[in-house]
């Protein structure tokens, strides 16, 4: 399977602070990729590196087998929607489409106009007068109508109310179904990502903590509950992601490719949200209560 984005030892430093460190990644094509992590983890930095708005301090990144934004041909293949749904408030909806057509050689005018009609937007309306949800839909229309192979969206739904968020994701998924475009979107709304993403990257403190296909991640993580015991003494190949203990009981989130054989454990599947949150919590130091035990 070919990769749409490949990073090797990628790092970015702003003055003295590293925003991204030693990032090695491979994003397969045809996926809807969720990029999650706490604020300041490096999500926007990674996305800005991917579209060529930033240059790496270390390592390298290739997008569609070429350095990002190498030339007009490379630029045409990637659509980008920056944070805060960028539109020009003084320009009308129709102006945005005209501008898109002027700036993008592969502009799909019919697609753009159909989408605007389907959304019920008035072409004469100024972007500044649109609701946040409508502005996001306009920005998505401009990004999609250039017919990119890769669509990169930085927190596209963060500022939207739940209804506008759902409508935006419905529109985005229609685009994926129709065009088969690969999507990378960052968000900290894991419930939304759970519906739309089939690949997940967890970025924490400027490092990639977890990456993989969602099906695979869910199949290899299990929640174990049983009599209290030392997580050090587990079946080989079981990696403890998080652990919490009471006097009598241990609750462990483990990652393993093997079946759990120990009959002392009650084994349950883990939802994506719990899985991500477990990785976001401080790393287990071998034993001791770390998640779910605030004391």
């Amino acid at each position: 399977m070919s990769a749409v984005l490949q990073a090797d030892g990628l790092g970015k430093r702003y003055r003295r602070r590293w925003a991204l460190t030693d990032c090695t990644l491979r994003i397969p094509s045809g996926r809807v990729v969720g990029l999650v992590g706490p604020n300041g983890a490096g999500k926007s930095t990674l996305l800005n590196l991917a579209v060529g708005l930033l240059t790496p301090t270390r390592g390298r990144i290739d997008v569609l087998d070429a350095p990002p934004a190498l030339g007009p041909a490379e630029l045409a293949r990637v659509g980008f929607m920056a944070q805060e749904t960028p539109t020009y408030s003084g320009l009308s909806v129709a102006d945005h489409l005209r501008m898109g057509a002027r700036l993008n050689p592969g502009w799909d005018r019919k697609l753009a106009e159909d989408r605007i009609a389907q959304l019920g937007l008035d072409p004469a309306q100024r972007a500044g007068k649109l609701s946040a949800g409508q502005r996001a839909q306009l920005a998505l229309t401009v990004a999609v109508a250039k017919r990119p192979e890769l669509l990169i969206l930085d927190e596209p739904v963060a500022s939207l109310d739940p209804l506008a968020r759902r409508q935006f994701l419905q529109g985005l998924m229609e685009v994926v179904a129709e065009q088969g475009v690969t999507v990378v979107l960052s968000s900290h709304l894991i419930a939304d990502l759970e519906r739309v993403c089939d690949h997940l990257i967890v970025l924490i403190a400027s490092r990639v903590r977890l990456a993989g296909d969602v099906d695979q991640l869910l199949a290899t993580h299990h929640l174990l509950t049983g009599p209290r015991r030392d997580p050090e003494r587990l079946q080989a190949g079981q990696q403890v992601v998080s652990a919490s203990h009471t006097d009598r009981q241990s609750t462990l989130l483990v990652r393993t490719d093997e079946p759990i054989l120990d009959p002392a454990w009650t084994v349950e599947p883990v939802g994506l949200e719990d899985l991500v949150l477990a990785y976001m919590s401080p790393e287990p130091t071998g034993r001791g209560g770390l998640t779910g035990v605030p004391r």
Binding site: L169, E178, E194, R195
Partner: protein
């Protein structure tokens, strides 16, 4: 011909059941209840994702599984159509069985069983019955 949307899917994200499985189950249920019949068209992938805001691959996976079990078949460029039914002629018997079951449930409640105990009892009896069938 006027096109009619035959069924609409819904998603319970708190159930713990994967979205793909929920779609498969909803089609099977509709087939069993006679809501879907041979020749009916399933919603297109674009329609489903436009309605549920889910990944198209999830719908594709569900339709592939239904195809694999011989319940639906794709017509290239048109959509996915129902090719078999899960109605087994037992539909007529549903009414009387249901009435009997309601009576039985009332009896169980009078005997002091709560919902959990009733479910546990049903499962237990169901399992015992299945084991007898095998033996």
């Amino acid at each position: 011909m006027e096109w009619v949307l035959v069924i609409e899917f819904h998603l319970d994200t708190r159930s713990g059941v994967s979205p793909y499985r929920q779609i498969v189950d909803q089609v099977r249920r509709a087939l069993r209840l006679g809501l879907l019949n041979e020749g009916d068209q399933l919603p297109t992938i674009k329609e489903v994702v436009g309605q549920l805001a889910i990944n198209p691959n999830t719908v594709l996976k569900a339709y592939k599984e239904l195809e694999h079990t011989g319940l639906v078949a794709p017509r290239p460029g048109v959509g996915t159509f129902v090719t078999a039914t899960l109605r087994d002629g037992s539909l007529a018997a549903h009414g009387p069985l249901r009435r009997e079951l309601v009576r039985w449930l009332a009896k169980a409640r009078r005997a002091g069983l709560d919902e959990e105990s009733i479910e546990a009892l049903f499962r237990d009896a169901f399992r015992a019955g299945a084991e007898q069938d095998i033996a």
